[in-house]
């Protein structure tokens, strides 16, 4: 810790952090542009200048850029010094020289960082009489609008897009006061995280194009905290509506999940909220296809009348929320309820839940992924099944640069220095996928194989290599053991699958990391190639019923797999990772896009895989604000067949975008008006 003084007030701060961070944490108003909490400091805009004094007697001081100044004990600064204020006002004045005064019609208006900083700095009168520079804008696709005239050249966009997200098609071109941020030619931005440009840009250069389709001013929006339903990660979002219509998704900071960034699918893929196919209320569909709204009581009575004394079963959906499933189970009775998984999916999920409960496996948060020394991704291309995870994997790989830079005395927030010095430093990432992964540029090594081969690889890792002596533990420790371990694992990655291929790995599902060799078909979890239930003595549940399975034999754990499984039927080639989407629902493109299409990673069964959002996921529990509509609830709403159960949930019906339906006794279907979280939950009609 260090004690510093800013304008005659003392602050206890962490030594080595930059002054801008420290000042902002201390609620000091200090304008800035190029600095971003996630992207670090580069010192381009020179906006955060403050006075630094060398000692008590120093009256003159000198200007320093807060974002580039590490704090140390005893330092003295002034934010309010007239010279510093004047300098900051000059910077704003220079930035505004070429900035169009189109604020009244600018899409960024109302949440423009430049506007805020200009007001904060006190620059209110334009004295520069010259003309403004103009640019030709580019078509950047259906999601992002480009308006270069507004650019203040803070370099944030390329630093996010190119340096942070690994995009290759957005660059800074030119020099002097004509630096252009765009593509080499018009075209759709290729990166999966391009939507973040909307938020990263401090002004209105990159704006949300779908949002601008309809007239909206930002201050008219009604926003509510929500959780993204796009994949299993559950990124925290802020959903906004106007006139009872969903308008946009913005990022909502969550320290362990998405922090500052979302994927494009999460940001732009939410139009289904107001989609015409969505059933919004209880009703009855007639034979002629028409749909008559009825009250819940009426509907239940009608169902009762139709069914009479017949036995009723309820089939839910794995895409439904827990609340929905619970309500359905209560309606039909537990013994008549099916969660909608196929049997061979249910068991791995159960086993996985059991692992998690027993603490034998853990789902890392994205923050933990980013702090990993080495990562193995098995059987998934996260860019498709959980894109935000892919962005975290990139940060995990690039984090090595910060370590290298730290050895050279460069602070981790010195972004340019870190990237320059640590440009060749990468933590190892190994990808084992069905098809070429789009994250391959990051990977130390890639392996492509059939589902069976991938499962075999996972099994080998869980099991240990039969020929290497101390087995799984050793390999696992290598995998987590930094660069050297990473290299060892890379070696494995190259030769293990080949051995598996020769020996045959037995029937496995795509997402399974191999099945228990006792034949109970649960995924491998314990040593010896067995699931966590089956000890060496065999399967306690007597489930060894799968054709081709065999009774456990002593010494299984030590024997090589060559020859084993030859008698088994070949593994069913399944594509699509979507749980509970049997048969025709599967994506025929193979596992790569399965998760992408149905929006579910189905990740629980994957060994060593990334985080999945399950009931215990912190993403849903730690978010600020009142009881949040969960991502699962959103999915439930999407699953139109479950509208009835959805309606019966407590706490008002939640729609996917996080808007609350009115709770007034009559059950009006109108949505709440502004201030959904705080005001009484009554619709405007009452």
């Amino acid at each position: 810790m260090a004690t510093i003084r800013i304008d005659d007030r003392s602050y206890e701060v962490e030594a080595g952090r930059n002054l801008l961070e420290v000042a902002l944490s201390g609620s000091i108003d200090l304008p800035y542009f190029c600095w971003h909490p996630e992207l670090g400091s580069v010192g381009a805009c020179r906006q955060c200048a403050v006075m630094q004094y060398t000692g008590e007697s120093d009256e003159t001081g000198r200007l320093v850029m807060a974002c580039m100044t590490p704090v140390a004990d005893g330092m003295r600064f002034s934010v309010e010094a007239p010279h510093a204020r004047d300098f900051r006002a000059s910077i704003i004045e220079w930035l505004m020289v070429n900035h169009p005064h189109d604020c009244p019609v600018c899409e960024e208006g109302g949440e423009c960082h430049l506007q805020d900083m200009t007001v904060m700095t006190g620059h209110s009168m334009r004295v520069y009489p010259g003309p403004k520079r103009t640019w030709r804008n580019q078509y950047l696709g259906p999601l992002i609008n480009h308006e270069m005239n507004r650019c203040i050249t803070c370099y944030r966009c390329v630093r996010f897009y190119r340096d942070y997200a690994g995009g290759t098609d957005l660059e800074d071109f030119g020099s002097r006061d004509r630096v252009y941020f765009g593509r080499a030619e018009d075209g759709v931005l290729e990166n999966e995280f391009s939507g973040n440009l909307v938020e990263v840009c401090p002004t209105g250069v990159f704006t949300d194009r779908p949002f601008a389709r309809r007239y909206t001013r930002k201050w008219d929006l009604v926003s509510a905290p929500s959780v993204c339903a796009g994949c299993a990660l559950g990124c925290a979002t802020l959903a906004a509506s106007r006139d009872d219509e969903f308008r946009r998704i913005h990022n909502r900071y969550h320290p362990d999940v998405n922090r500052y960034f979302l994927c494009d699918r999460g940001r732009f893929g939410q139009d289904w909220v107001d989609g015409p196919g969505r059933i919004r209320q209880v009703g009855r569909r007639r034979d002629d296809g028409s749909f008559d709204p009825v009250s819940a009581q009426e509907a239940i009575a009608a169902i009762g009348a139709t069914l009479g004394d017949a036995r009723v079963i309820g089939i839910g959906s794995p895409r439904a929320s827990l609340e929905t499933s619970f309500a359905l189970a209560r309606l039909v009775g537990r013994e008549h309820f099916c969660a909608g998984f196929a049997l061979d999916e249910t068991e791995p999920v159960r086993a996985a839940v059991a692992y998690l409960r027993e603490g034998r496996a853990r789902i890392p948060t994205l923050a933990e992924v980013e702090s990993a020394d080495a990562v193995l991704v098995l059987g998934e291309d996260p860019i498709d099944s959980a894109p935000r995870l892919a962005l975290s994997l990139r940060q995990a790989v690039m984090a090595k640069a910060r370590e290298t830079a730290a050895d050279a005395g460069i602070a981790p927030w010195q972004d340019a220095g870190v990237r320059s010095h640590g440009r060749y430093s990468r933590h190892p990432l190994y990808l084992a996928t069905l098809l070429p992964s789009r994250s391959a540029d990051l990977a130390a090594d890639c392996y492509q194989g059939s589902p069976a081969e991938l499962a075999g690889l996972g099994e080998s890792i869980a099991d240990g290599d039969p020929q290497s002596g101390s087995r799984g533990q050793r390999l696992r420790s290598r995998c987590g053991g930094g660069a050297a371990g990473g290299r060892a694992a890379a070696g494995r990655l190259r030769h293990l699958p080949r051995r598996c291929l020769g020996g045959g790995c037995g029937p496995v599902g795509l997402r399974g990391a191999g099945r228990c060799r006792s034949g109970c078909r649960l995924p491998v979890g314990a040593a010896g190639g067995r699931c966590c239930r089956c000890g060496p003595a065999g399967c306690p549940s007597g489930r060894r019923t799968r054709p081709g399975g065999r009774a456990p034999q002593s010494g299984d754990g030590q024997r090589g797999r060559a020859g084993r499984g030859r008698e088994r039927s070949p593994p069913p080639r399944r594509s699509g990772a979507g749980a509970g989407r049997p048969g025709p629902g599967r994506n025929r493109r193979g596992g790569r896009c399965g998760g992408a299409r149905d929006g579910r990673g189905g990740r629980l069964a994957a060994a060593g895989d990334g985080p999945a959002r399950e009931p215990g996921h912190p993403g849903q529990q730690r978010g600020p604000g009142p009881a949040l509509p969960s991502g699962a609830a959103c999915r439930a709403a999407a699953a139109s067949g479950l509208a009835l159960a959805d309606r019966s949930g407590r706490g008002g019906i939640r729609s996917g975008a996080g808007l609350r339906r009115c709770r007034c006794p009559g059950g009006s279907d109108r949505r709440q008006r502004p201030g959904a979280g705080r005001r009484p939950r009554r619709c405007a009609a009452r």
């Binding site: 580069v42 010192g43 381009a44 805009c45 020179r46 906006q47 200048a49 000198r62 200007l63 320093v64 580039m68 004047d86 300098f87 000059s90 910077i91 220079w94 930035l95 020289v97 070429n98 004295v127 520069y128 009489p129 010259g130 203040i152 050249t153 370099y155 800074d172 030119g174 020099s175 002097r176 006061d177 004509r178 630096v179 830079a405 050279a408 005395g409 460069i410 010195q414 340019a416 220095g417 320059s420 010095h421 640590g422 440009r423 060749y424």
Partner: protein, 446 residues
């Protein structure tokens, strides 16, 4: 390698051979006149540390403008246990784009082997495996001469896999710059060399620790490296004695402007401005009166009449509030409109800004426009104060990302200080009185 004879003029290590040859120095002349004797001594008779110590003892200060001691800079490269044994680079900064400066061009076009020998010695000192000559793209003739010289040096075994017969490699490459002033900035040069945007890099890391391609790199000015052979050949003591006072060695001084004999002259470091200007450059042309001079290219503060007796060295010029810079002075006489000159210079610096930081990117064009307004007569009252205020913000080192804009402010701020009446006259006259006067004179003549 044949044995070599003596250098034709040891008192002028930079241009002695050129003057003796009466023009470009041929390979035979190089070999006859002490060719690569310093390099051979460094590689075959001395350790790395000894080479660095020798250059340190010679107090060789960088000739690119900052005047940093070359030997000290070489010593920053990790050595001993910190040396990871990987590749290192030595780079000669020949991206000479400072307005009014043409010293490197003269050396490279006439005696490229001098630079190559200096780099061979530098490579020995820092254990560089590869060297790059980063040459201004417009120096086509110098490039031609360098290419030829590099071929000769390779054939003679001075560079290559077995540099100077030492058994160690030193490969030298010629790189032609794309033609941006900012590429002369040490770290922007590294970015340009790597094929990146020529924007200066954040420090730390400093190039001796992490430079080109993330490896230890030393960037020296062309003239600095050209001084090195003499130090190794004659020893630090003899080299030190060449300078005047506490200065050591010689300097290639240049004079441009309306003087009788503009051009370059190698003189002891510390020669007075008056001597350079009035003896060696022959004084002002008939009918022109001295008003001031920019001592080291465009990015240095004006010096005026009262400074003429100062010795032209780093300390004295620094104490007078300017910088020696490249040591090639631009003389301003009474036929030059100071405001127009300032506008011209600001136009240059604004054009050459890399565009990274706000004060440089946006501030310089604003100042250029203000000066233009003065010239055109559209300036408003208060513009001078505004200009001074903004120049004061831009012109302090540390307020901008690199020193490009700081350098740009030096002539402007000093012009406002020494020639303020010119600016005020513009404001009062509603345009350029100078131009009106010259125009009137031209009108009378016709």
């Amino acid at each position: 390698m044949s044995p070599t004879g003596a250098h034709p003029d040891e008192s002028r290590p930079l241009t002695g051979r050129i003057d003796a040859a009466g023009g470009p120095v041929s390979l035979e002349q190089v070999k006859t006149w002490s060719g690569y004797a310093g390099a051979r001594r460094a590689w075959l008779e001395m350790s790395r540390e000894e080479v660095i110590e020798e250059v340190k003892a010679a107090n060789l200060r960088g000739r690119g403008g900052a005047g940093f001691a070359a030997g000290v800079k070489w010593g920053f490269v990790p050595s001993g246990e910190k040396d990871d044994g990987g590749v290192r680079y030595l780079i000669a900064n020949c991206d000479e784009m400072e307005p009014g400066t043409f010293k490197d061009r003269y050396l490279l076009e006439n005696d490229p082997h001098l630079l190559i020998e200096g780099m061979v010695i530098g490579a020995r000192a820092i254990r560089a495996e590869h060297g790059f000559i980063f040459l201004r793209g417009e120096y086509v003739h110098a490039a031609e001469r360098l290419r030829q010289a590099l071929g000769e040096a390779e054939a003679e075994g001075w560079i290559g896999d077995d540099a100077c017969g030492s058994g160690e490699p030193f490969h030298l490459h010629l790189h032609l710059s794309g033609g941006r002033y900012i590429c002369g900035e040490e770290t922007a040069l590294l970015n340009a060399l790597e094929g990146r945007m020529p924007q200066p890099r954040a420090r730390p890391p400093f190039p001796p620790a992490s430079g080109a391609w993330g490896r230890p790199t030393i960037v020296n000015n062309c003239e600095t490296l050209c001084n090195v052979p003499a130090i190794l050949r004659c020893g630090a003591e003899a080299y030190t004695e060449l300078g005047i006072g506490s200065n050591s060695g010689t300097k290639l001084y240049g004079v441009s402007g309306r003087v009788r004999r503009p051009g370059l002259k190698e003189l002891p470091l510390g020669t007075s401005i008056r001597e350079i200007l009035f003896e060696h450059a022959g004084g002002m042309l008939e009918g022109h009166h001295f008003r001031g001079l920019l001592p080291g290219g465009a990015s240095t503060d004006f010096l005026v009449e009262e400074h003429l007796d100062l010795p032209m060295d780093f300390e004295s010029i620094g104490e007078a509030g300017s910088r020696m810079g490249t040591g090639t002075m631009v003389v301003v006489d009474d036929s030059v409109c100071i405001v127009d000159l300032s506008r011209n210079l600001q136009h240059f610096f604004a054009q050459e800004s890399c565009g990274f930081c706000t004060p440089c990117r946006e501030g310089l064009p604003v100042l250029e426009r203000m000066l233009m307004a003065l010239e055109e007569g559209t300036a408003r009252p208060g513009d001078l104060e505004r200009m001074e205020r903004q120049a004061g913000f831009i012109g302090v080192p540390g307020n901008t990302f690199c020193v490009h804009a700081t350098g740009a402010m030096e002539p402007l701020r000093s012009a406002l200080k020494h020639f303020r009446e010119d600016f005020e006259a513009h404001l009062e006259a509603g345009g350029c009185p100078h131009r009106a006067r010259v125009g009137a004179a031209a009108g009378r003549a016709s």
